[in-house]
Amino acid sequence: MDSSLFFNITTIAYFAAMVVFIVYLTSKNEAIAFGATLICWAGFIANTVAIGMRWYEAYALGYQQAPLSNLYESVVFFAWSILLIYLLFDLKYKQRAIGAFVIPFAFAGMIWAQWSLDATIAPLVPALQSNWLTYHVITCFLGYAAFALACGVSFMYLIKVGKEERSAEESPIGGLLGMFPSTKVLDDLNYKAIMVGFPMLTLGIITGAAWANYAWGTYWSWDPKETWSLIVWFIYAAFLHARFTRGWVGRRAAWLSIFGFGATIFCYLGVNLVLSGLHSYGGS
């Protein structure tokens, strides 16, 4: 029994949860939603066990490193973070339908990692051997995960608000959208998720800067990765301030949140795959 078995279980669980959530939207049966949530918990536990075992496996190879050392490990950790944030939001706000729009991000991450990323456990190069790596990665990914949730919720908002406007005169919306939370709740959840993600991203940037300063004597060097994290920070800072301005709630806020997550994904993957810089895990 090794970590890859549990990673497989995780992927299957996230896929199943995604499907069951969609069934829930069509069937409107709360019991099905509860089932989907249980599958999420099972997947999350499998994901946690898998990461823990991988940690142990690296240790057994003689590498004292947290399982956050390459692209594969970061993607499965991203999936884990998304589930963590989603489940916390589920416990607090109990809006089951959003699972159908958030779990796909985690599933996409897992399936990508398992199909096409190199899962070899490789030792860290000297520059990455630091506890700062752990703090930096965890804070960044919790932030990214909250932004993923905000993005999923924003999609729901845009779908629902569009339908509502078209069928304003008719009876309440039925079909799939009937199970969506109200647009007001969706808008609020978008804001709440970004309120969680923003301080996490801030901490992620700060821990990165602190680490860079400790390792090289420069806390900021306008490296593309640093710059993109700042771009993401600017976008969400604009989002938070836009909330206080008339006309920037609702649809525009949803779009800003989706743009923000697009920038987040570019910061996470695009910078490594397209641009060059210090964060080389995505390079060939």
Partner: protein, 454 residues
């Protein structure tokens, strides 16, 4: 009012506006992309080769300062506007917030009650005083001890929690300004430099970035040893380390082995392990056996030298690899036949002494060891502003958590005699997270109902 005045007013309002903040943030986000797409601070030749630009394109982009855009006038101006915006917003709004926190409205009138989305009226029995004491007790237990005022036979209660969370936003804004100040201090009084120190040698000067002559420092740094370790079974480096010694007036004052991620700091200067390289030619030691006689000698010498062998011939070490195709240290040598004609070069391995057996020839050569002198490449930095930056970062985190997760909650109660008994009017608000406050308010209503009906 003069026209001048209204212009300054307009300017002031412009710099205070939230719209400016949003636009500046979005502009900063968009323009920052440029410097991630165009590599920064390369030479003109590199740009024209890398991107295939014509000279005119290059000149245009250069005049826009796109090649060092994060230090360009327009980008710094944008940051300047951002800072001014932050300052103006705070100056404009802070006095009002201080007033809200320090001089709260203690007596709510009907006008104020109408503004509350959370309000309730309860009819109680007893006297104003007895009802007031019960309400005070419930508030004190469930929320916060209220300030009690009486007037015209009525009683006014005010209680609040989390008033200081109102300052979270301003702490956050100030923290960004503090980070800017820290960065400026670093830019003015700090520097980045580098220095290479060969093993066994010491330096008392460093090279500032961009300078052609070294800058002296008032102590000496000696490199006693440099080591590079590799992970087993591969060329992946595990650790670079340098044994550094700091000397003042020839006296050792500090000793530390630095590694990547573990620098040495002395007198405000920090030395970071950053690179390494070979210094000078390696010194080789070989054991050479004459196949015919079986006599063996040990010879030693530098690369390129003719190392005499008994019988007039000479061995010439030509090159060295630390880890030749995963077979470990290897030297390339050839044997001069005595007529200054080089023989065919061949490889000998330290870890495989028998390897040369199969080659044939007059001699069997074994590599005993190679001593390669390294230099360690150190980055040197001095940044007196860094602690200011960390202070700003700390405040940024504390302030934004306060601003996002805490809220200022206030409750007003008016108790007055009515014909049927004693009227209790309760109202309250929170400056953030209203749904949670609404839930809390419902609970409080129930508690008050229970207390007053008993």
């Amino acid at each position: 009012m003069s026209k001048q005045q209204s212009f300054t007013d307009q300017l002031w309002d412009f710099f205070c506006s939230l719209k400016l903040a949003i636009i500046t943030l979005i502009l900063l986000a968009l323009t920052s992309i440029i410097g991630t797409v165009i590599q920064q601070n390369k030479s003109p030749q590199e740009y024209m080769e890398m991107y295939g630009w014509s000279e005119s394109t290059f000149k245009l982009l250069d005049s826009l300062q796109f090649f060092d855009m994060y230090h360009s006038y327009w980008f710094l101006s944008l940051l300047g506007i951002f800072a001014v915006n932050l300052i103006c917003c705070s100056i404009k709004r802070l006095p009002r917030i201080i007033k809200v926190v320090r001089e709260p409205v203690l007596k709510a009138d009907d006008g104020l009650f109408r503004t509350f989305s959370n309000r309730e009226e309860i009819l109680a029995q007893g006297t104003v005083e007895s009802v007031r004491d019960k309400v005070v007790a419930v508030l004190g237990e469930k929320f916060a001890n209220p300030v009690v005022n009486g007037e015209d036979g009525k009683s006014y209660l005010f209680a609040q929690k989390g008033a200081y969370s109102r300052f979270g936003v301003y702490v956050t804004h100030t923290s960004i300004l503090i980070i800017f100040v820290g960065a400026m201090i670093g830019n003015v009084w700090g520097f980045k430099a580098f220095v290479n120190i060969t093993e066994g040698q010491s330096v008392n000067a460093i090279w500032l970035r961009g300078d052609k002559v070294p800058t002296p420092i008032d102590f000496e740094v000696r490199n006693d040893d440099f080591k590079v370790e590799f992970y087993e079974g591969g060329g992946r480096p595990k650790e670079y380390s340098s044994d550094l010694v700091v000397l003042e007036n020839g006296q050792e004052v500090m000793k530390k082995t630095i590694e990547v991620n573990h620098p040495l700091t002395y007198k405000g200067l920090t030395f970071y392990q950053s690179s390494y390289g070979v210094a000078g030619d390696p010194i080789y030691r070989f054991r050479v056996e004459n196949r015919a006689t079986g006599d063996a000698v040990t010879i030693m010498g530098a690369q390129g030298r003719h190392l005499s062998l008994p019988g007039g011939k000479a061995l010439i070490p030509m090159g060295y690899a630390e880890n030749y195709q995963n077979f470990g240290p290897a030297a390339q040598v050839n044997i001069d036949k005595g007529d200054h004609q080089h023989g065919t070069p061949f490889l000998v391995f330290k870890n495989f002494p028998q390897f040369d057996e199969r080659r044939g020839g007059d001699y069997k050569v074994t590599l005993l060891d190679v001593q390669q002198t390294y230099y360690t490449g150190l980055q040197v930095a001095k940044d007196p502003g860094v602690w200011v930056v960390w202070l700003g970062c700390l405040l940024l985190v504390v302030g934004s958590c306060g601003a996002f997760f805490l809220s200022h909650r206030r409750i007003w109660v008016t108790i007055q005699p009515l014909e049927q008994g004693v009227g209790v009017k309760i109202g309250g608000n929170a400056h953030r997270n209203q749904p949670a406050f609404a839930l809390f308010f419902d609970e409080l209503k129930k508690d008050l109902d229970d207390a007053l009906s008993s």
